[in-house]
Symmetry: C2
Subunit: 512 residues, 2 copies
């Protein structure tokens, strides 16, 4: 216990109160979990029998944080240290020994590379400390349900990748190429023996938390999918009471981690046991238990959820047309007034399913079509192991492992270009009918040609003096056109290849 | 004059009637023009002053055919010989010397390779003799307005091409890469001196007719565009009276040629001088003057015309979405209940304009996306002459000349596969969400993978015994999977490349 705490904060202070022993860190760094651990009753079923929370006061504001039972008589209250200064708290519980405990924790300056949870910033995102976040996401739904060695490989791959967000399921996945049985589950039990839905498996959750912390170290947001339909264990239809208990437990455990996003469901419309009213109820439960405003959305198979719902922070779309998805990004921004993340536009790969056999070129094209329209497209990879000389079922999109595709390098290149824009984002700009233009009006204009391949283009420049770059989004080159260019039209020579872009950057103004 | 007639029929019979001398062929072959030429008054303005028509009786049915003034005192009545047997006629005219002339022409068996005008056959087309027509079209809008040498090159190129339909304008074209001035026009005059809109230039029309006859010899339908907006001569806004006179003159001259299709306009919505009521009026005039039921349609820039209008025989669409057009073919069949021809889906080339810089691969993909959904996509080519080492403005899409692209060979390959289907056509079949299937239900099933590139696919076969082919639509290969396959599912191995198709052909039934 002391070891664990020392990883989270400094110099834990163990205090005794009645029959309970409480461990409180003296200080934690900003954006770290602020965790109070209390020895309490272990008789009966503490998961259900005991209610516990704490009210923290920091900077004059109160925040309620629900506690959870971590097994072996240990109760935990885990806040996200989202403000510097002294935090005082007082516990409340149905168990007298856990009730009325008080203490103080000092929240100090953030650790290096800790920027806090991601917040919505107009049609884009920033970390709580103001640092820009661009969700260049990938997908490995069931990576935490795989053997340790494979999980380590996944993390090593992510460390080398350009991705800053990972879609991952809390529940295990039963689907094509997903037939292996996990060793443990959110609930104690097994497929063969059944599950005890009145208890949770704290060790399972501790492993999930460790994965989330490791992702944070890699600068990757954990986009946690709370429900999904790919199920052989019954987790897609636990019933309203268990769903609620599961959500409260999960959110209390995880909302103390800065890099957590909620996704209420993957393909919500395929979860036949839940209707819209139920999704709204469940989302409200997440909102109740999450005192730290993590992002939340919900992902469709076919019909879009109503993304105007107040609890939805951003649009999380799956392709609904085989041919045209990212090309709708700007329309969807207008429609819902929220950031647009196209979490699934199909995956780079070569499997038999139409959602998993596009080329790297097509994947990158979709990323760019979304980017110049001011949104964010997500990645996934589904190469057949057999064609790679393996006899396993390890496809990145679900189990993680290695990446084999050609798109990630180009996604990194795209991100570098985004980072070069003022404010680090592109918004859609008035375009040509055939070429979408994005960037920052009057400052940086990016026109993307996609599958078209002109040998030249007339570009109309506004007031000022401009530099022009010809960008090969696939070849990952930026070539500066000689000279500078005043207001008016300029003919830009292009190589007659697909996947080119033109960038015009105003150079007679200081960058703010 | 005799020479000209001998090209159209046999043994012309010159009869004198009052002051008029009439030349009537003794016989013509089925599907040829049946032409009566009469010497008549040349004073005043015969284009306006003289009305002339003839009522033909053949097989107990009457057909009225309007005549036209061909200059030099010659009046012509040109029917399309659409039924074998004896045709009798009697002329009617406001000029007494042209009125009440009678005669008989025998229509004999068709010339080799003459199949008659193309008619609608459900969602497809047939020649009047029942032979299947598949409109694999291309575009050379202004080819007849170019120098003779270039026109000859265009015809030589067409002779080697797979195309069976050519979109071409009656009026010359003023547009990008179309700045050269034609030597003559439908009306006498010039841009510098103005045009006499109360007369026509018969020599200009005779050259057009010669082009149409030459196309017929090549097995190419002339898809004649009657109005268009690309104009510097005033032809896009002649006013209602001149429009009407022009249409009556044109249709009377040309409806005797079996391989003529009418297209009321290209980009009708850009012809600002005409509204829908006016298009309806003009289409009615074409219908009045065309006694032989040539196909007629109208082509959009942005808003579709209402293709349910009774005079419209088939849908003639221009791409309205940069990303998705041919993929809508089956929906458009349902919407309008007529054959769908996507006459412009963009052109293979590399110019700066988004309508003219797709790759050969993308062009062929669009042809296939339309074909498996039971429709017909059209071709055009816009390679920059400079990039081909030339300093002219000759782009195939408008002026004709040579083809340089990679799509025509693959379009021929597609046509060969269509020809192999029972009845020579594909219709849309119940598909997978990600793969469109077309063909003939229970007989020939073609699934097209487009830009997706699976390494295998499970195909569900219905009753019977089937052969399976793996088709590389770009590589132009058909590989038979060994063995035959009974009802049920079969796994078909694919190469993991784009642009593949699978064809399943039922082999335990005789082809009807």
């Amino acid at each position: 216990m002391l070891d664990r705490h020392s990883a989270l904060g400094n110099a834990p202070d163990a205090a005794s109160h009645g029959s309970a022993t409480m461990t409180v860190p003296e200080s934690v760094s900003l954006w770290a979990p602020l965790e109070i651990r209390i020895d309490g009753p272990s008789h009966g079923n503490p998961f259900i029998d005991v209610e516990l929370d704490a009210v923290f006061t920091r900077g004059g504001a109160d925040v309620r944080v629900g506690g959870f039972y971590d097994g072996d008589g240990i109760y935990v209250i885990r806040a996200l240290a989202d403000a510097e200064g002294a935090w005082t708290f007082e516990t409340r519980s149905t168990a007298p020994s856990l009730d009325g405990l008080t203490g103080t924790v000092v929240v100090g300056s953030p650790a290096e590379n800790a920027h806090g949870p991601v917040r919505v910033d107009g049609f884009h995102f920033r970390h709580a400390d103001g640092i820009r976040h661009r969700p260049l996401g990938t997908t490995a739904y069931a990576w935490t349900h795989q053997p340790d060695e494979l999980q380590e490989q996944t993390l090593a791959t992510l460390a080398e990748s350009p991705f800053t967000k990972l879609r991952m399921c809390v529940f295990p996945k039963s689907y094509l190429y997903n037939t292996n049985e996990p060793t443990d589950f959110p609930f104690p039990g097994s497929l063969a023996d059944g599950f005890d839905l009145e208890r949770f498996d704290p060790a399972h959750f501790r492993r999930l938390e460790k994965s989330i912390v490791t992702l944070a170290d890699l600068g990757v947001e954990a986009d946690l999918i709370l429900f999904h339909p790919y199920d052989r264990w019954g987790f897609a239809d636990l019933g309203p009471a268990v769903d609620e208990r599961y959500l409260r437990y999960l959110v209390r455990r995880l909302s103390g981690f800065a890099n957590v996003w909620w996704s209420m469901a993957n393909e919500y419309d395929l979860v036949s046991a839940k209707d819209t009213a139920e999704w709204e109820r469940l989302a409200a439960i997440v909102g109740e238990e999450d005192s730290f405003g993590h992002l939340n959305s919900i992902h469709n198979c076919i019909p879009f959820y109503d993304y105007s719902a107040p609890w939805i922070t951003h649009v999380s779309i799956q392709r609904v047309d085989v041919y045209r998805t990212a090309e709708n990004t700007d329309e969807w921004r207008e429609r819902w007034g929220k950031p647009v993340v196209i979490d699934e536009c199909a995956y780079e790969g070569d499997i038999d399913q139409g959602w998993g056999n596009i080329t790297g070129e097509e994947m990158v094209r979709r990323f760019w079509e979304g980017a110049v329209r001011g949104g964010y497209v997500g990645h996934g990879e589904t190469y057949l192991p057999a064609a790679l000389g393996r006899d396993d079922e390890t496809l990145w999109w679900s189990k993680g492992g290695e990446l084999h595709g050609t798109s990630p390098d180009r996604i990194r290149f795209l991100d570098q270009l985004l980072a070069e824009a003022p404010d680090g984002v592109w918004n859609p700009l008035p375009g040509d009918w055939d070429v979408p233009w994005g960037g920052v009006a009057g400052r940086t204009l990016i026109g993307y040609f996609g599958f078209n391949r002109p040998r030249f283009r007339i570009v109309l420049l506004g007031e000022g003096e401009w530099a022009i770059d010809v960008i090969d989004t696939w070849g990952m080159t930026v070539e500066r056109v000689p000279g500078t260019h005043p207001e008016g039209s300029v003919r830009v020579e292009l190589p007659g290849r697909q996947f080119m872009a033109i960038r015009a950057t105003r150079i007679d103004q200081a960058t703010t």
